[in-house]
């Protein structure tokens, strides 16, 4: 099943040409700078904007297609939209807001999302009788997400839901979003310009720049590609999908594994079997051609150089290292190190990753 979007539109000063296909259910993140056309894409999917040309389809249902002239109005699309500024109806209570979409949803939806479930999932029980005007920004956004979920959407679109919140509020909502993702088998289209939200939430990543979609694909693939703008950022990092396999309380370490890859990190609370994602910053990865002795690093991962990209302006080189069959790391080293170790595509290499440098995300 897929979410498929392709459209062209023109605003004064910005021509938009965005197209991608993403597997569903799963979270597709549109990532790019402000003004790149991400929110326009959300409006097109929800039907609030009719593009010059374009097609929107989800799981085989065509919502709009300029070739056939089909255009479902927003009220008949069943696409839940969470706006950046919540837009809760100020004259009705939180419960009334939650019920607004629920009352108007078709009664025969499979996998119906219940009111009690949403209240529990988003921690809304204490807020139900209150008016939106009395809520904090974070609470308001949680209610808006719940309201959209209860309209029984076939797709949930979130347009920068955290952008107007300060850092503590963001940290308050992110775990709810991660829970939502794992609890409900609902396709989500998430729009953001914050890399942290990308790393935590994305399954599929679509890069948007100046009105165009640069690349689309699985998160780990896109972030580790040296030819894309993400790798050129100071905070470039690889994402690995791993599972907790064992805890070693005596050494205060947790062992994470995935297809032939093993990583030791400081002790975690998650029980064995928990799936999680980790972020390994490119700056923190050391490359070696033989196993060094007497060293504090726990993780010495054998791999193969996939590509080397030089960043002349910064006198740096970005080395993509393939680990096992599906994972990859990024290492930012000096061009001199690349030359000394003779690192080129296909060369075997060891990636040294400090346990303390691994960021466990979920």
């Amino acid at each position: 099943m897929t979410l498929s979007l392709a459209f062209r539109h023109a605003f004064p000063g910005l021509a938009l040409d965005i197209a991608f296909d993403a597997p569903t259910p799963g979270t597709t993140v549109l990532f790019g700078p402000s003004g790149a056309g991400k929110s326009t894409a959300a409006a097109v999917v929800a039907g609030l904007l009719r593009p010059l040309r374009g097609r929107v389809a989800i799981d085989g249902t065509v919502l709009a297609d300029s070739d056939s002239g089909r255009f479902l109005p927003p009220e008949r699309r069943r696409v839940g939209l969470v706006f950046q500024e919540a837009r809760l109806f100020p004259h009705i209570s939180v419960l009334g807001n939650l019920r607004y979409g629920l009352r108007r949803a078709p009664a025969d939806t499979p996998q119906r999302i219940e009111l009690a479930q949403v209240i529990d999932l988003l921690g809304l029980a204490a807020l139900l009788a209150r008016r939106p005007g009395t809520l904090s920004g974070g609470e308001r956004q949680r209610v808006a997400i719940g309201r959209a979920l209860l309209s029984q959407p076939r797709l949930l679109v979130m347009d920068e839901p955290l952008a107007s919140l300060d850092a503590p509020r963001k940290a308050e909502i992110l775990p709810y979003l991660a829970r939502l993702k794992t609890t409900l088998a609902l396709p989500i289209l998430y729009i953001t310009h914050a890399l942290e939200e990308v790393s935590r939430l994305a399954d599929t990543l679509v890069l948007i720049e100046a009105g165009r979609s640069l690349a689309a694909g699985p998160l780990a693939d896109i972030v580790s590609r040296g030819d894309l703008p993400l790798a050129a950022r100071d905070d470039a990092a690889a994402i690995l999908f791993l599972r907790v396999t064992a805890h070693d309380p005596a050494r205060r370490l947790t062992c994470l594994q995935a297809d032939g890859l093993m990583l030791l990190v400081p002790l975690l609370a998650s029980p064995p079997g928990t799936a999680l994602r980790v972020r390994v910053p490119a700056r923190e990865v050391i490359l070696a051609t033989e196993i060094p002795g007497g060293i504090s690093v726990h993780n010495i991962l054998p791999g193969e150089v996939r590509a080397v990209t030089e960043d002349a302006a910064r006198h740096a080189a970005l080395v993509e290292v393939a680990l096992g069959s599906a994972s990859a790391l990024l290492a930012r080293v000096t061009p001199d190190a690349v030359a000394r170790l003779c690192l080129g595509p296909g060369a075997p290499v060891l990636a040294l990753v400090k346990s303390m440098a691994v960021e466990v995300l979920v």
Partner: protein
Amino acid sequence: MAVRLTLVVAAWSVCIGLPPALLAATALARWRFPGRSALDALVHLPLVLPPVVVGWLLLLTFGIHGVIGAELLAWFGVRLAFTRAGASLACAVMTFPLMVRAMRLSLEAVDPGFDQAARTLGAGRFDRFVTITLPLAAPGVLVGAITAFAASLGEFGAVITFAANIPGETQTLPLAIYTALQSPGGEATAARLSLISVGLALGGLLAAEFAARRLRPLLGR
């Protein structure tokens, strides 16, 4: 007698004027269509025309030989000219611009973002108007209605032209004051009625302000 009659006429004029005023205000605030400026001008016409002219135009259309008036008489046996209902109609037409202006302003002040949000939640056009736009614009609608009511209490020219000055039937407060002033020794009556008139008008304006202030917190503002 004149006081009670005036209140009844004003109340009816608001009832007659409210639905079309709401429609016109919505059209002017929300819809884009050809002839929008023409509608805007038409709505404001009673404000700038001499009231006598409005009364005479009403006679032309709703009088017993008028375009609509003749039909009403033939089909339903309803006569508007020189009746209490006619006085209400005259007041409704005269206060129409006031009502539309207040409603339009408050409709325009409602953030269209709420309407969009309701759309994505599956609400159709009429549904959204009734559940979102209208409640959020309620203070303006109420203020418009109360202001129109207060203005109806003082309507003179259009009423006397279209409904005449029949004591107990169409003689509202201003007409009664005028009649008293025309008769010898009527100054005392005129003064008494004028005082009542001032009180009613002030009361109306205060009620409008009070209603708006009480409604605002209910709307979360």
